[in-house]
């Protein structure tokens, strides 16, 4: 080949390459397409999104062993176990067969009666659409189940022989009984599930004793509280996920939200230290607050109107994984769980998901807000607030290997703090002012609807420690007390 001919070929090839590059660049800039789309799936996701089903956990599991013996247990492996051990979810999957199932609405009085028998109950803090509940937990769903709209509580009771499940539909304010006939190869000959053996195994393993508040305090209240609790929780220091001065870290995070459009994003730093990133006339806005939280808002553009609860949850979980991950930005691991669900936020079709975090199996409560809040409306993430904390995981391990300490008595916490709780309720307009202390005590004692222990992050930015606490719930108010002294430390209202 002669030299001039070779040069011509190189020129032609260069022209073709330049032309193709021009077309490609115009395609990206005019099409407003993010470069993220070119990345491999592994690069796109900062961390693998957690399994959404693992996030659907009840707030508590209540077991009635009969003869006035009760316990309340954290869901953990009791709810869903990946090993060979039995679990609530495994028993639900055994329920059936679908061909011979009776679904009937029952009265609240009938529901109350079945709860008095040896039974086990999973109680959620929100309503899960029944179709999504069945598909998530592999529960067979015949057509007759359609009368049940959602699940807030589900349980098994020995009140009746055979397989009977009881469902509380909090959304429709109804209670249901689902009865399945036993098949010929049923293991226990009365039904396909082994709930009785499951309850037996929990009893055999030992459990903390719980009694209704009525038994301790002589007031009308069936809420179960523990006789005594031994805990090994202690305060520990935490850091914010971001600080205003960490410009590079914040910019890197912001790039995840705006992708290829990041060069066209305006960055505004307010006097307070808040950093605002804005694209266009406000279609996409990211605000990095001085308390370490980030808020992202996106204009609604998609029009998927029939996204299911599970579909919306998956969209939310993946979005978080792609935009900051489910860990702290420095990598501190926590276990996320779905804490609350608000349907149709701001009047838009979809869901607001509030996620909580567990640290070594203990729930972390926020005096203000939640670790993750995300709106999925019409199939699109339109709001996302991330307020995670960073901490040294080794510190927690050291603290929690220490021997347990007796927590303050739950009933004496109420006796010691009823005036404080009454004042909070008074400010919220939930109760009327009175000078009668006995009446105040009786009112508070009869209104307590949950008591649990956990970690608390207070809203005051000067507090740099996560504290172990008793969390007492009355109406929609969580009141926090020092776990060991019962001194009040704060409260939050939903």
């Amino acid at each position: 080949m002669s030299k001039p001919k070779a040069i011509e070929r190189v020129k032609n090839f260069s022209l073709v390459v330049l032309f193709l590059s021009t077309v490609l660049l115009l395609y990206f800039f005019w099409g407003n397409i993010s470069f993220d789309g070119l990345k491999t799936p592994a690069e796109q996701t900062a961390g693998d999104p957690p399994d959404t089903v693992k996030m659907l956990v009840p707030s508590q599991i209540i077991v009635n062993f009969g003869a006035e013996n009760y316990t309340v247990l954290p869901p953990g492996e009791l709810w869903q176990n990946l090993t060979d051990r039995d679990s609530f979810v495994e028993e639900l999957a055994r329920f059936g067969p679908v061909e011979n199932v009776l679904v009937e609405e029952i009265t609240y009085e009938q529901y109350r009666q079945v709860r008095e028998f040896r039974s086990i109950w999973a109680e959620f803090d929100y309503d899960i659409p029944f179709a999504d509940f069945c598909s998530s937990f592999h529960m067979k769903k015949p057509q007759s189940y359609d009368v049940i709209e959602s699940v807030t509580k589900i349980g098994y009771s020995t009140a009746e022989k055979g397989d009977s499940l009881y469902v509380v539909d909090g959304k429709a304010q109804k209670t249901f009984r689902i009865v399945a006939a036993a098949t010929k190869d049923s293991i226990n000959k009365t039904g396909n599930t082994e709930f009785p053996a499951f309850i037996d195994s929990i009893e055999a393993n030992g459990y903390p004793a719980y009694y209704p508040i009525s038994s301790y305090l002589g007031v009308s209240n069936n809420t179960l509280v523990p006789l005594s609790v031994e805990a090994n929780l202690q305060s520990f220091s935490f850091l914010q996920d971001t600080y205003s001065y960490q410009t590079e870290k914040i910019n890197t995070m912001a790039e995840r939200f705006f992708g290829g459009n990041f060069d066209f994003v305006r960055r505004i730093v307010e006097e307070s230290g808040t950093v605002i990133y804005m694209y266009g006339y406000g279609q996409n806005v990211l605000i990095v607050n001085t308390d370490g939280s980030m808020e992202y808002k996106e204009e609604q553009v998609s029009g998927i109107t029939d996204q299911s609860f599970s579909g919306a949850l998956e969209t939310a979980v993946k979005f978080v994984a792609d935009h900051g991950s489910w860990k702290s930005l420095e990598g501190a691991e926590m276990t996320p769980y779905l804490k609350d669900v608000i349907p149709d936020p701001n009047g838009r079709k979809g869901y607001r998901f509030l996620f909580g975090m567990e640290i070594n199996g203990t729930r972390l409560h926020y005096e203000k807000g939640a670790p993750i809040v995300i709106d999925v409306t019409s199939g699109q993430v339109t709001y996302y607030k991330r307020h995670l904390i960073d901490f040294d995981e080794d510190d927690i391990k050291v603290i929690e290997t220490a021997s347990g300490e007796e927590a303050f008595s739950a009933v004496n916490l109420i006796a010691q703090n009823y005036k404080y709780i009454y004042d909070i309720l008074l400010q919220a307009g939930e109760v009327k002012a009175t000078a009668d202390q006995a009446a105040m005590f009786e009112k508070v004692a009869s209104l307590v609807n949950k008591m649990e222990i956990g970690y608390v992050k207070l809203a005051d930015p000067k507090v740099t420690e996560i504290q172990p606490a008793w969390i007492l719930t009355v109406y929609d108010t969580d009141v926090y007390f020092n776990l060991y002294s019962a001194d009040p430390i704060g409260y939050s209202r939903e």
């Binding site: 006035e68 009776l102 029952i106 007759s144 359609d146 009746e160 301790y216 305090l217 002589g218």
Partner: protein, 179 residues
């Protein structure tokens, strides 16, 4: 003679004074659970005592037994009779089960204790209010009968379940004609 009368009066007043005090119940110490003279069907007993003043109390549980054929045996609670809240059986022997002392520094507090592994029988819960020298200044007794938990009879809470086919038809009709 006069001295003898004074000594006698002092001795008698001390004797009866103490007896009267022992018979009195402390108005600021109330047994919330179990209810007095009640029956429980469990082998565990929750004791809850409400104190409405800073006090020191001693809570003791005794099993009341009776001699049957020369040996101490549990009382058959089905044969017991009561009159105005008192047990009509003079030949009971108290066997201590457990006791605990509790001091409250608040104007409202609760003493709670679970007594486990109780066998069927008659039990007495004694609450003593103690003074600074740990002497009882008030005493109250309550009885509770513990009975064997009988096998839970199948509840007649619901009607006989219908077959799946019937349910399907019923749902179909409901879908067509509404509820």
């Amino acid at each position: 003679m006069k001295k003898m009368v004074i000594v006698l009066v002092v001795v008698l007043s001390l004797m009866f004074g103490t007896t009267v005090a022992h018979a009195e119940e402390d108005p600021n110490v109330v047994l919330v659970n179990p209810a007095s003279n009640s029956t429980i069907y469990s082998n565990n007993l929750l004791i809850s005592v409400k104190l409405t003043q800073p006090k020191t109390i001693k809570v003791s549980v005794f099993e009341e037994k009776q001699i049957v054929n020369g040996t101490l045996s549990a009382v058959n609670v089905n044969t017991l009779t009561t009159t105005k809240g008192s047990i009509n059986n003079a030949s009971l022997t108290s066997v201590p089960v457990t006791s605990a002392t509790f001091t409250s520094k608040n104007n409202l507090s609760f003493f709670t204790k679970q007594v486990n592994n109780l066998k069927p029988g008659l039990y007495r819960i004694r609450i003593d209010t103690l003074d600074g020298s740990l002497n009882a200044v008030y005493t109250s007794d309550s009885y509770v009968a513990v009975k064997e938990k009988t096998e839970e009879a199948e509840a007649k809470i619901f009607e006989t379940p219908q077959s799946g086919t019937m349910q399907f038809l019923q749902n179909l009709l409901k879908t067509i004609f509404g509820d």
